[in-house]
């Protein structure tokens, strides 16, 4: 579980995060949604410590305040974190296999055979069986994301962070990636936090949804509650497209008919 309390972050005079508080529970897909520039990525990078915050608390597993631990403690905690970056952030000069094995080489004393077994297991898990010897520039966008996920889970993390996992992917591949993230979360019982503005992802995997608007928390809840949410900014964001607006109208009409009966 990760708990964020009263998190504030400014770049110069511009305040990006304004007193954000939220609880991201274990075994659930926690989604941070919001328009571009709403502070999603800053929030995620603050939680993992890539961006220093001005004030607030980031509590991992009930007792560890990420902002009040020393470098060694922070390093230890980071070994429990896996992250999928927006552009996948694979090491260009390494093959798929070497990208995935990298954390194992760095932090474990496993034998080469054990490490390769683990790498193959992770690559199989993300449906990339025969891509071991390929370089990142030989992979499609969806394959890169899957390698990124394999690398993120190779150390059996307790926390998985995914920054815009569907950006640049077609709807079908997006669903595959979403499903993969959901399955991994359920399988390993990890705390997953996903940054997205893809409404399909929200409706597919959002166990807990946190909506940010101009750096503030405007709404939180389960994906099923979104359809009936009354928050204006959330509705403007979600129902910006005609398709979702019509679904919302039909839903509202259905509920009112049921009520009248």
């Amino acid at each position: 579980m990760i708990e964020v309390r009263d998190l504030n972050k400014s770049f110069g005079t511009k305040q990006i995060l304004k007193g954000i508080s939220a609880t991201f529970e274990a075994g659930k897909c926690n989604l941070i949604i919001g328009a571009s520039g709403s502070g999603k990525t800053v929030l995620m990078k603050s939680i993992v410590g890539l961006i220093p915050v001005n004030s607030g608390h980031i509590i991992y597993n009930h007792d560890t305040d990420f902002l009040n631990i020393d470098d060694a403690g922070r390093k230890e905690l980071r070994k429990l974190i896996g992250m999928l970056f927006q552009g996948s952030a694979l090491f260009d000069s390494l093959t798929v296999e070497k990208n995935v094995i990298f954390p194992l080489n760095m932090f474990t004393t496993m034998t080469f055979k054990e490490k390769m077994n683990r790498v193959n297991e992770c690559l199989e898990r993300v449906n990339l069986k025969d891509a071991n010897k390929l370089y990142p520039n030989e992979l499609s966008g969806g394959m890169k994301k899957r390698v990124g996920i394999a690398r993120a889970i190779v150390m059996n993390p307790k926390y998985l962070f995914c920054d815009e996992p569907n950006s640049g992917l077609d709807p079908q591949t997006s669903i595959v990636i979403d499903k993969l993230i959901k399955d991994i979360t359920d399988e390993y019982k990890i705390t997953t936090i996903v940054n997205t503005h893809d409404m399909n992802s929200v409706m597919e995997i959002g166990d807990y949804v946190l909506f940010l608007y101009k750096g503030e928390k405007y709404w939180e809840g389960h994906r099923n509650e979104i359809m009936n949410a009354t928050n204006q900014q959330l509705n403007d964001f979600i129902f910006a497209g005609k398709f979702f607006r019509e679904i919302k109208e039909q839903n509202t009409k259905r509920l009112s008919d049921e009520k009248n009966k």
Binding site: K45, K75, R78, K79, F85, L90, F91, M106, F107, M155
Partner: protein
């Protein structure tokens, strides 16, 4: 003001390199890889530059010494001393600054903008130590070796060009080179090469590591790294000459 900000961040980057490696064997492997890339990868350009440097110095020295009152061996002496004191450790390194400096800055800059450095941090790897330290060590070790190769090649190419053009015989050239040889010149050249090796790798790493923005900024970082390296090499060339000669 900007100078102090850059200098402060540069010092902090260097300070951050002194950490306990996550796994020493991986760091050694990375140092060896960088030594091959920086050292072996630069041999070609060093050979080409050195051969022409030696040839030009010999021809130009011979052109200026036309009087029969001065022994021909002086050409060998002037050429060899110029090569060891200045041309091999400074001119060659200025060219290496362009090659190695831009490579380091653009490599780290690309890693920064494509979030590869963030990925290392998230894994718990000390990114600056893992990425920058091997480059600095490799460069500080390999550039003096390249300078030694450069000095030998320049002197030999000068000797052969002197013989080929009839400006000075091989024997006269070598007699002059050996007659006026001062052993400290070799030490001085190596001190300069080591200093310049450190400057090239650390300054280029600094500009690459702190790249912000996109592809355009990677190019800018690489250009800035090369320009600053060249200026610092010339500045330290003067400082070392003033202090040590």
């Amino acid at each position: 003001m900007s100078f102090f900000i850059h200098f402060g961040r540069y010092v902090l980057l260097l300070k951050s390199l002194f950490v306990r490696p996550e796994k020493t064997s991986i760091y050694w492997r990375e140092i060896a890889r960088q030594m091959v890339e920086i050292g072996v990868g630069s041999v070609g350009i060093v050979v080409i530059v050195s051969c022409f440097l030696g040839a030009v110095v010999t021809v130009q020295t011979a052109y200026q010494l036309t009087t029969p009152l001065i022994s021909k061996s002086i050409i060998g002496s002037i050429a060899a001393n110029s090569i060891i004191l200045e041309l091999a450790p400074t001119v060659t390194v200025l060219i290496l600054a362009g090659k190695i400096g831009s490579k380091i800055a653009s490599e780290l800059g690309t890693m920064r903008i494509s979030e590869q450095i963030d990925a290392l941090e998230i894994m718990g790897v000390h990114s600056s130590a893992y990425l920058v330290l091997p480059k600095i060590l490799a460069s500080t070790l390999m550039i003096p070796l390249l300078v030694i190769i450069s000095a030998f090649l320049s002197i030999y190419s000068g000797m052969w060009v002197g013989e080929f053009t009839g400006a000075v015989s091989k024997e006269d050239f070598m007699t002059g080179a050996i007659q006026y040889w001062i052993p400290f010149m070799a030490n001085f050249a190596l001190i300069k090469a080591t200093t310049f090796g450190f400057i090239i790798s650390s300054v280029s790493s600094y500009y690459g590591y702190y790249t912000e923005g996109g592809a355009l900024e990677v190019g800018r970082s690489a250009t800035r790294a090369v320009v600053v390296c060249c200026v610092l090499i010339l500045l330290f060339d003067y400082i070392l000459a003033q202090l040590l000669l």
